[in-house]
């Protein structure tokens, strides 16, 4: 029994340079996956991290760099992935931005920017990848949403709405694509120890939120990566259209 859950699988993961995406890269590689590791910038640090992971787990990690705000960049990134002629078994839409602003203080411009990155760009990238998966007659797509999309949180109108849109997309895509053997699910992280949380929330809010979790701790990037791994792998072969809250029991 091969215990590597993603042995010989090829996966696209976005937002790999930091936080949850960086953890995913490690967890997926550890489980045997070859990864197209997407990030905005091909910094020396990022490229050497990819090389290090590849060497350690004897998998292929290919850095793919583009800005999610640039549709042409997405198109050419997908082209470069397709040029490899390899099947794409899973896509993890992890990249995203946060915004902490009260409803009345959120400009239309900011709102559009959040949706551009957290929703429209994921939509476009996924359309391209699904074309490939339909031809392959199978695949798994994992969207990283947020508990804020389900519960609503103060100061999260733009962010929460963009992540809620991603959940609705997940469910519609699950319905449309099941006949092609493509599963689509989402992970809804709660409060997770990343730079993004550190920068957008005060320590007081972080502490209060952690106190509301049933497990009384902040999430680790690996926790979220493990839920995504489950949904990307064949372990979840009869699960589609679902959202797995990975939040230590925050909210309902």
């Amino acid at each position: 029994m091969n215990m590597k859950l993603m042995a010989d699988r090829n996966v696209i993961i976005t937002g790999c340079s930091r936080g949850i995406g960086r953890a995913m890269l490690g967890v997926f590689a550890e489980n045997g996956a070859n990864v197209w590791a997407c990030a905005r910038n091909a910094t020396e640090q990022f490229v050497s991290y990819c090389e290090d992971i590849a060497r350690r787990h004897e998998v292929r990690i290919t850095p793919v760099c583009f800005d999610l705000r640039d549709p042409a960049g997405i198109t050419s990134a997908v082209r470069s992935i397709m040029a490899s002629n390899l099947p794409v078994h899973a896509l993890v839409n992890n990249a995203g931005v946060t915004l902490n602003a009260l409803f009345q203080m959120t400009s239309m411009e900011k709102l559009r920017e959040v949706f551009e990155i957290n929703f429209f760009s994921q939509f476009l990238l996924t359309q391209y990848v699904v074309r490939l998966m339909v031809r392959q007659k199978g695949g798994s797509i994992v969207n990283i949403s947020s508990s804020a999309a389900i519960d609503g949180n103060t100061g999260r109108s733009a962010y929460g709405a963009s992540k809620a849109a991603l959940i609705a997309l997940t469910k519609s895509m699950a319905a449309e694509l099941a006949e092609h053997g493509i599963r689509v699910n989402a992970v809804a992280p709660g409060i997770t120890a990343t730079d993004m949380v550190g920068q957008s929330m005060s320590q007081k809010v972080i502490d209060e939120t952690v106190a509301q979790t049933k497990l009384r701790r902040i999430g680790k990037p690996d926790d979220i990566a493990h839920s995504a791994l489950f949904l990307a792998s064949d372990m979840s072969s009869y699960i589609t259209g679902q959202v797995i809250r990975t939040d230590g029991g925050l909210g309902r």
Binding site: E179, K214, M235, Y238, I239, R245, T246, D247, G248
Partner: protein, 248 residues
Amino acid sequence: MLLQGKTAVITGCLRGIGRAALDLFAHHGASVWACCQAPDDGFAAHVAELAEATGVTIIPVYFDLTSHEQMRAGIKQIVDAKRNVDILLNIAGAAHNALFHMTSMDKLKEVFEIDFFSQIFLTQMLTKLMMRAKSGSVITVASIAGLDGNPGQIAYSSAKAALIGATKTLAAELGAYGIRVNAIAPGVIQTDMTAALPKEKFQELLRGSKLPRAGLPEEVAQAMLFLASDLSSYVTGQVLRVDGGIGG
């Protein structure tokens, strides 16, 4: 090996989903207290073979969920071994099909006895061990009927809904002890239970399912493995639908 060195209590191991979970957990390195309703030679032989093949310890435990006396004895056997129990997987239960007006109070209580009260009793006893160890994972098996309702399953769906309520409350109460509590809600799964259905009824059940097929017991077992293992270490109080996308 996702369960190396862990000990699991699994009920309902004789057939279907329970059997699949027993096999999968053992292959992932878990020692198992394999509970089923009554002694069965075929089962004992399977357990011996599985233990031999995987190198883990598997001990059959026999009790009927309708008998508190038998349950107490079964639980005592587990507790007396003085080993940690890391995982409790409550699979045993019984489906019951009858319309609302055709369901007698006696029958309703009988269904709740098997599908709810007995699970709570067992969970109470075994989470005491987990609280001492300050860690554990409890998995209840609900049903999509407990979430969506299902015509002709008033007693069964109500008992499963109660189980979901208990799952969430337990998650809140036990979280501080490092114990996670989650539920699996299977959809239409190929088991003896569904095999007994007429073909048309079976097809009707699948209507609206996104994946155009019934699930396999092994697929439900894989989701259980996720919730039992450290892969889900930050997941608690959740209900995971394993239903091919049939609703919700």
